[in-house]
């Protein structure tokens, strides 16, 4: 057995020291479903979609360091059923209306729902009262669709150097807040060209006047699964 390999669903996958299981898997074109993970940013580990079984114990692939000889289960019926339930949970805790959402077809939450065979929300909707902030001239913030992945927080802090976004509240009341005394996005220094304005995997942060630039039916996940898109992106 090589020192620097792990085993995912029977497949031997090499890794470099310091890599996470997710990074090693992606490099080997092994798809592990994920939402809050984006290879451009520091791993976060909050959505738990990428939970795999490592030597019999659950761990988030995006934050777990790869270590020689790990026996990993990923694409199993049980894990995918749990992932489907997590996607359903994300759907019901917010207000997601795919049929008239500008992000439909480009949305990773929706795409994962399809990929994991989600046929209905299953749980009762929470119907939370969440704010929509249209105060910024170029960017809309719709918290109804937020899944608390903190990619905008990370992008604004680590790439844009602006700290426009942050989390406040706690538990089920956790939500995104913005860096202005008024609490309005229009009063922050967010620019439409910022990384934070384009990183949202769902439709919580979208650029105004571009919502239907690409017609529905021709969008990213309309003809390809999220697995295909994200595996190809890594090539």
């Amino acid at each position: 057995m090589s020192d620097n390999t792990i085993n995912i669903d029977g497949q031997t996958v090499p890794f470099l020291p310091g890599q996470t299981i997710m990074e090693a898997a992606m490099a080997a074109e092994v798809y592990i479903p994920h939402l809050c993970h984006n290879p451009e940013f520091t791993p976060h580990g909050s959505c738990k979609l990428c939970t795999v079984s490592v030597n019999g114990r659950s761990a988030a692939a995006c934050t777990m360091p790869a270590a020689a000889g790990q026996q990993i289960l990923n694409n199993t019926e049980e894990l995918n059923a749990n992932r489907r339930a997590l996607v359903q949970m994300l759907f019901v805790e917010g207000n997601h209306f795919c049929p008239f959402c500008e992000k439909s077809g480009n949305c990773q939450l929706q795409a994962l729902g399809y990929y994991l065979g989600m046929m209905d929300p299953h749980y009762n909707h929470f119907y939370p009262a969440r704010a929509v902030d249209g105060s910024h001239p170029d960017v809309l913030l719709d918290l109804n669709r937020c899944i608390m992945c903190e990619l905008c927080v990370r992008a604004s802090r680590d790439v844009d150097g602006k700290n426009v976004f942050g989390l406040t509240g706690r538990g089920i009341h956790t939500h995104i807040t913005v860096n202005s005394p008024s609490g309005r996005l229009g009063d922050t220094n967010l620019a439409v060209s910022d990384k934070a304005a384009e990183v949202c995997p769902v439709g919580a942060i979208i650029k105004k006047r571009h919502g239907f630039a690409v017609p529905i039916g021709e969008r990213l996940y309309d003809h390809k699964t999220i697995r295909e898109v994200q595996t190809e992106a890594h090539k």
Partner: protein
């Protein structure tokens, strides 16, 4: 509302006292709130400016902790402890009575800004409850008469300092003492031994004693201290990619942290240790510092125990005067000091990595592990985090050696354990037992003749019924952090599980999906059953959600949040069954109830204004 100058002055004072250090943000927010009554937006801006951090971080931290408020919350804030034991002792009725008499709704401040009455998670007084925090100070042994008096005092605007002193009396209720609490240790004996025996010598004694962490998980203390002592600072911020090549040129800074965030419902033994044996705790921290080579320690004291803050600081000051703390301890050249940080109402901060985040002035979100605190803890430096009781025991072991300690208890669980006993028994309080004692013995000693169930280790622990009373309290059988809640034959175990489910949903930090949403779904499911609309389908759903939350959550909170539901479904099915309706499915939505508003508006209540169940 305070004017801008008042706000600026409050912020300036608090920030200056804490060196304008963002790591002290939680402490600064608390002091600003003390001065202003709440933390207004202007204060957030000022704090951000003084600390040179984004305002969004200040607002994020303010929004995380229960005890921080962004708007006025009453000159009197009365928070009833929502522990199930106090609940069963009449808390809901007392709260209702107070609200009725004060003409307020629960959780809402009165229109005149005088008072807010609400609930809070267990405040560590369930041996003398029902209890409440009044402006942060515990008032114990509440009854209708005491509530009446409190209402009058509030209405007359009498300051807390002039309330009857016996309202604030907190008893130790120490009922059984063994080697820890029964045999006093000469002050300074542990530190003296640490100085004499040195790091290797003390670590060998701790190892010989077999001491395991008293917070509940039972990790071997000597192993933890040894990991930390060997950990070398890589000079990098906490990184998740695991061990890096070490640069051994610079001396590594290490920290000792005492976890006094005793938040598990039903436990209060740390309260007693800190109230009457604080020297022993500080002594143990100093011993740990000597072993790992730390100069700085923190006691993270839960906000609910704030009433002990001044007293504990006084003890620290005395220890400095006595040469047991500070520079050059006992003339040995070894220096170590302790700072007390106050929490602000967050059960999750009892999780060690969340506690460290809070110490660093952040939201109390548990970190990704590895790396563990022993290598990447406070400010990314190697850090030992132990429970209050663990340090107290370590002090004794340092002074007396490990041998005698290992002879007590069982082979795998050496020494004694403090239990916080509350509920249906004649003598609630703190009991110290050698590990290995049976539940039956404990029940007999505390006067619980009619016990039906015991919740061992709090909601995140294990509930056992009569058939299991011969089980032993030990890491190899029933592990416990010390909470021991007794329920007699009259009690409804479903209600206990429902209370615990609410607790976890309320205390989830919100970071990961399975805990944030799963704990809320569990609470909703239990509420549906309680309302008389539950079916077998709902029970099956609870099991599925419970298993998912257990398997996929980020930290111990989520992994144990389903324990009460899953365990009671298994062991006390009858308490569920009698509530279920014999249908396969029943919607959680009640159409007739939903029409109530329309009926009120139209003033109708005839048959046509109702929808029948079928």
């Amino acid at each position: 509302m305070p004017d801008n100058n008042t706000i600026l002055l409050a912020v300036q004072t608090a920030a200056a006292r804490h060196g304008n250090d963002p790591a002290n943000l939680v402490q600064i927010l608390r002091e600003v709130q003390d001065a202003l009554g709440h933390i207004p937006e202007e204060a957030v801006d000022d704090i951000a400016r003084f600390l040179d951090i984004p305002r969004v971080r200040v607002a994020g931290v303010r929004g995380f902790y229960h005890f921080f408020h962004d708007r006025p919350h009453g000159r009197y804030e009365i928070l009833f402890s929502d522990n199930i034991i106090e609940h069963l002792q009449g808390k809901p009725e007392l709260l209702q009575q107070m609200c009725t008499r004060l003409w307020v709704e629960p959780e809402r401040m009165s229109e005149d800004g005088l008072v807010r009455v609400g609930s809070t998670s267990c405040i560590g007084m369930s041996d003398q409850g029902p209890a409440a925090l009044v402006n942060g100070v515990p008032v114990t042994r509440l009854n209708m008469e005491r509530v009446e008096t409190m209402v009058e005092l509030v209405q007359k605007g009498v300051p807390l300092s002039q309330w009857p002193a016996d309202f604030f009396q907190v008893e130790d209720n120490l009922r059984r003492a063994d080697v820890l609490l029964g045999e006093p240790l000469e002050r300074g004996a542990g530190v003296r031994a640490a100085v004499e025996k040195g790091s290797d010598g003390i670590l060998a004694e701790i190892d010989r004693s077999g001491l395991r962490g008293r917070g509940g998980a039972g990790f071997k203390t000597a192993v933890k201290w040894d990991f930390c002592r060997k950990a070398v600072d890589t000079g990098e911020e906490c990184s998740i990619v695991g061990p890096k090549v070490c640069d051994n040129t610079a001396a590594t800074v290490r920290y000792v942290v005492c976890n006094a965030d005793e938040g598990e419902p039903g436990t209060f033994k740390d309260r007693v240790l800190l109230n009457s044996h604080a020297d022993l705790v500080f002594e143990g921290m100093t011993v740990a510092a000597r072993v790992i080579g730390a100069r700085q320690g923190f006691l993270y004291l839960r906000g609910e125990y704030r009433y002990l803050f001044d007293k504990l600081n006084g003890i620290l000051a005395q220890r400095r005067r006595d040469g047991l703390l500070g520079e050059n301890i006992l003339g040995s050249g070894f220096s170590f000091d302790i700072v007390i940080h106050l929490g602000a109402g967050a059960y999750i901060c009892g999780e060690e990595s969340a506690l460290i985040e809070s110490l660093e002035g952040k939201r109390g979100t548990p970190r990704n592990r590895p790396p563990f605190p022993v290598t990447h803890g406070y400010l990314g430096k190697p850090t030992v985090v132990n429970n209050v009781e663990t340090y107290a025991l370590a002090a004794k072991i340092a002074a007396k050696g490990g041998e005698w300690f290992a002879a007590i208890g069982t082979a795998q669980s050496t020494g004694t354990k403090l239990l916080s006993i509350s509920g249906d028994c004649e003598r609630p309080g703190v009991y110290e037992y050698p590990f290995g004692v049976t539940v039956r013995q404990v029940l007999a000693d505390c006067g619980a003749q009619d016990a039906r169930a015991v919740q061992v280790g709090g909601p995140s622990g294990t509930i056992i019924g009569e058939g299991e009373f011969d089980r032993r309290l030990a890491f190899e059988d029933l592990a416990t952090g010390g909470s021991f809640m007794v329920f007699n034959r009259e009690r409804d175990i479903f209600e206990a599980a429902r209370n615990f489910s609410s607790f976890f949903a309320h205390e989830s930090c919100g970071f990961c999906t399975p805990c944030r949403v799963g704990s809320t779904l569990l609470k909703k499911g239990m509420d549906k059953i309680a309302s008389g609309h539950g079916t077998c389908a709902d029970v099956e759903e609870l099991k599925r959600i419970g298993q998912l939350t257990r398997a996929m959550s980020h930290c111990g909170l989520g992994q144990t949040a389903a324990n009460p539901v899953l365990q009671t479904l298994d062991k006390f099915w009858g308490d569920y069954e009698k509530r279920l309706i014999s249908k396969e499915f029943e919607p959680s939505f009640d159409l007739d109830k939903a029409l109530a508003v329309a009926r009120r508006i139209t003033g109708r209540d005839d048959a046509w204004a109702h929808v029948s169940a079928d």
